[in-house]
Subunit: 243 residues, 2 copies
């Protein structure tokens, strides 16, 4: 039975790929993904068949993967970050019910929360919530209620998709909700182009994050009540000292 390996490539740098993901790329004759990610790896594997579809054509891309696998060859379906976190793993599992003769294996990768945290220092040492600000498939009210709940119960918060051309003010809106229960001095961090050329980061208070413009290549971290800046790093202690 041929198989689709839904594979996370990590945040961009080839070095942040797992050994398992590397083996999958070496062993699968067909590699499918969103055009941008395919271009990142094409040069390293000259003998492969590369197939891609543009952004927002995710379901088409999945069916393409199953059709290739039905021809009897293993397929690597690649995503940046972790295929299992806001990635392609779910859609492949859903569409897979129409292709019972194709196996599915999920190969995890370093997600932006892990990769970005490593750049900033150690913001995720304690309980955290990961929230996407994209309202393409989720009602904004749902996103707001999650932001409010996470802020009120002192989670460290990691924001994916904090901005786009159409949603330039979403980070400010999210910060306003968080500011209802957290101080403006709360330590925050932004990381841009994690693991890629031009990687950069900034550590700044929540009050200033509110008025900062970020782009879609940025991941945002909002500290909990104990998070501090320490020698230029964002660090959340692993517990509460008054226990």
């Amino acid at each position: 039975m041929s198989k689709i390996y839904v594979t996370g490539l990590g945040p961009g740098a080839a070095d942040q790929m797992t050994v398992q993901a590397q083996k999958v790329l070496e062993q699968c004759p067909v590699i499918i993904g969103y055009t941008v990610y395919i271009d990142l790896i094409r040069g390293q594997y000259p003998d492969k068949i590369f197939l891609s579809t543009p952004m927002r054509k995710e379901a088409d891309r999945c069916r393409l993967a199953f059709e290739e696998a039905e021809k009897g060859q293993d397929v690597a379906m690649v995503c940046s970050g972790d295929a299992g976190i806001y990635g392609m793993a779910g859609l492949i599992c859903e569409i897979g019910k129409d292709y019972p003769d194709v196996g599915i294996e999920i190969v995890p990768g370093i997600t932006a929360a892990s990769g970005g945290a490593a750049v900033l220092g150690a913001p995720l040492m304690h309980d955290f919530a990961v929230i996407s600000l994209s309202d393409l498939l989720t009602p904004w009210e749902k996103i707001e209620s999650r932001l409010r709940a996470a802020a009120e119960s002192d989670f460290v918060i990691c924001l994916y998709n904090p901005s786009s051309r159409k949603r330039a003010d979403y980070l400010a809106k999210a910060c306003d909700i968080i500011l209802e229960s957290r101080g403006a001095e709360t330590v925050c961090g932004t990381v841009r182009n994690i693991g890629r050329e031009g990687e950069s980061y900034e550590i700044l208070p929540l009050g200033r994050l509110r008025d900062t413009q970020v782009d879609m290549f940025t991941t945002v971290f909002i500290g909990n009540s104990n998070t501090m800046e320490l020698n230029g790093r964002m660090v959340t202690p692993r517990g509460y000292k008054d226990v």
Copy 2:
């Protein structure tokens, strides 16, 4: 300047280590970690100096790393999973202020949320909260308030440290809190020994998870209101269809 590389090894299997982590282990003459993780990698690197301290001696282990680095050699401080998620990265950054001549670099790894999700299918396709049930350094009331907030606002929930000998009933207590706002039929999953020998998993409803005994090698996933079981996999759709 010599450096400490705080390095996550991933959930156990050598294949789930990143290429970057592998290079760190190859290049650092000294490798320090908790005894169990050191034993996992000792055989592959016969020429290294291996140092370890038992569990709960984390601060001693960090100081040992800085003392070795001060001798002028690079040190790999290894943890399972991701060094940046409930790992050693924070303590190294905190203690690092006493050792200004030693550099620090965090090398991210696959955390149990990513590794376990890949075994179960695709439970983390939408916003999620990661909560540790260990009350060693966190008041239980704080943990309860986070469980309640995450359950009420429909996060997928991933539980770390769901049990130990002294806390045999903590998972049941956590499920009772989640059951206040989620149905007993909510799709859940448990994964034991992720990426290691004897890896196993189970998909089961929240009502039954409540009465299940798990151990400290298990990671627990509680689906959101849309999570389903699909061909033996736990799958959360990436959005809400009524948008």
